[in-house]
């Protein structure tokens, strides 16, 4: 499983996360190499979102290690993980509804102080997401779900992430909008950003990602390339709605 393409960008080892008294993640191993697109699929409550939140640093871990670029970051606070290049687009988008669209995007660049490059990156986000550009002075709470998801992704990109964590970007959105969003994510991946995608829509996720992990009740039960998992009868039965 180890293609020698340099050391992994992110490595989870025996990661355990307790959440409200119960163990939501019960010791998982996961590895991401630089430039990869990987997805984490599984049923509701399997621990996918919990795992992403722990990687981003907004949830404390109960055991195991998170290694990023060869260093243990178990205790690094969330704001410093962002500075190190880990950006999370959280479940439910996490838009600042009372800030304008432009202010939301600029929040993504909060930790940077290269003003000229920020403006250039803003322009790039506008070309990538033309719908967003039309709405810059608008309070973000007034946007549609799809537009909010675009803003959330654009905002994360403005931090110039090395590792982009996406939590259910398709949630609650119409198929056409989901397609648009995945086009954007695809183009981000092509620029070399490593992506870890959590999705309920397993079909979509496995087609998008090079590799996938299947999570069940806090454990990783299967892993393989996207194509192999798509063909796996167990996956097809459990997540793609087919009879075994």
């Amino acid at each position: 499983m180890h293609t020698e393409q340099g050391s992994p960008l992110l490595r989870l080892q025996g990661l355990k996360i307790a959440y409200g008294g119960i163990q939501a993640v019960k010791g998982i191993d996961l590895e991401l190499r630089a430039g990869e697109t990987v997805c984490l699929i599984g049923a509701n409550g399997a621990g996918k979102t919990t795992t992403l939140n722990a990687i981003a640093g907004v949830l404390p871990i109960a055991g195991g290690d998170i290694e990023y670029r060869g260093e243990r970051i178990n205790a690094l606070p969330a704001h410093r993980r962002l500075r190190a290049g880990i950006a999370l687009v959280p479940e439910g988008r996490g838009i600042f509804t009372r800030l304008t669209v432009e202010e939301n995007l600029r929040m993504g660049a909060y930790s940077r102080n290269d003003a000229a490059a920020i403006e250039a990156d803003l322009e790039r986000v506008y070309t990538m997401l033309p719908r967003v550009k039309e709405r810059l002075p608008q309070v973000a709470g007034t946007l549609s779900g799809g537009e909010q998801q675009m803003v959330a992704i654009g905002r994360a990109l403005l931090s110039r992430p090395r590792l982009l964590l996406l939590d259910e970007p398709s949630m609650g959105l119409a198929p056409l909008v989901v397609e648009k969003i995945f086009e954007v994510v695809q183009s981000v991946a092509r620029e070399g950003v490593t992506i870890l995608l959590v999705e309920q829509n397993a079909n979509l996720a496995l087609e998008f990602a090079q590799r996938g992990y299947v999570m069940e009740s806090g454990r990783i039960t299967l892993t393989g390339t996207g194509g192999a998992l798509l063909q796996d009868p167990k996956v097809r039965a459990a997540y793609l709605g087919e009879d075994a």
Partner: protein, 310 residues
Amino acid sequence: METLIQQFINGLVIGSVYALIALGYTMVYGILGLINFAHGDVLMVGALVALQTMMFLMGIAPGMSPLVMLAIALAVAMVICMLLGFTMERLAYRRLRNAPRLAPLITAIGVSFLLQTLAMIIWGRNYHTFPQLIPTTPLQPIPGVFVTPVQITIVVVSALLMSGLLLLVNRTRIGRAMRATAENHRVASLMGVDTNAVIALTFVIGAALAAVAGVMFASNYGIAHYGMGFMPGLKAFTAAVLGGIGNLGGAMLGGVVLGLVESFGAGYIEHLTFGFLNSSYQDIFAFIILGLVLIFRPTGLLGERVSDRA
């Protein structure tokens, strides 16, 4: 007519002070959902530290110009209060960030008692005369209407500070981070914002404004005392609720409206009650307003949402 204008001026002056204090309540509430009941006592510490500084300066440099002396005293008071605000948040409130909301509220009341008791130990139980370093001889812009230079200074300085705060919060990067943190701590930290630092800064700014308000309050009435923060604190809290707690513009509006209501109320209370109550009962207006707002418009004049965040 003269009485009417006079009451308006008096109301505007005291309302400006309420507004400055109310901003501290509303900023902390906006970002933490906490009513910092010790905020009024920060005002008291500001006034007493300024007083102490003035006494010291009068001792070592009796010939110093009064305005320079006031400026130094104000600066010292602000620095001490900022440290106090920082310490309060760090030691008392931070560890209660995820506690049930009654815990920080009761802690705030405890901090208030603590500050008053410490002030009583340091400065005694007596009322102190607060030096009037800005001339108090009233001007008469209209015959029968009196305005003192102290009053003019209070209104001008308050207006400047409030404009500065609005610029900071609405137009700067750190202000944007404050608003983002107020809306969602977790997502703000995902944007690289050190939310602990932003929360500490909010306390520090509120405390600095309270220090200025304390010096104004003491200058206006000419006295300072360990318990002097209680009543203006409570009224400024009322002003913040009246304007819509969590809303900066609301705190300013609420402060000024409350000051005006109180001033007009004090002026006319004898007529209104047919001589039964006199102007020493002026405090009832603030609390009648608090009651009415909570019953009929709990979100306040400018508030849109009832925040139930802990």
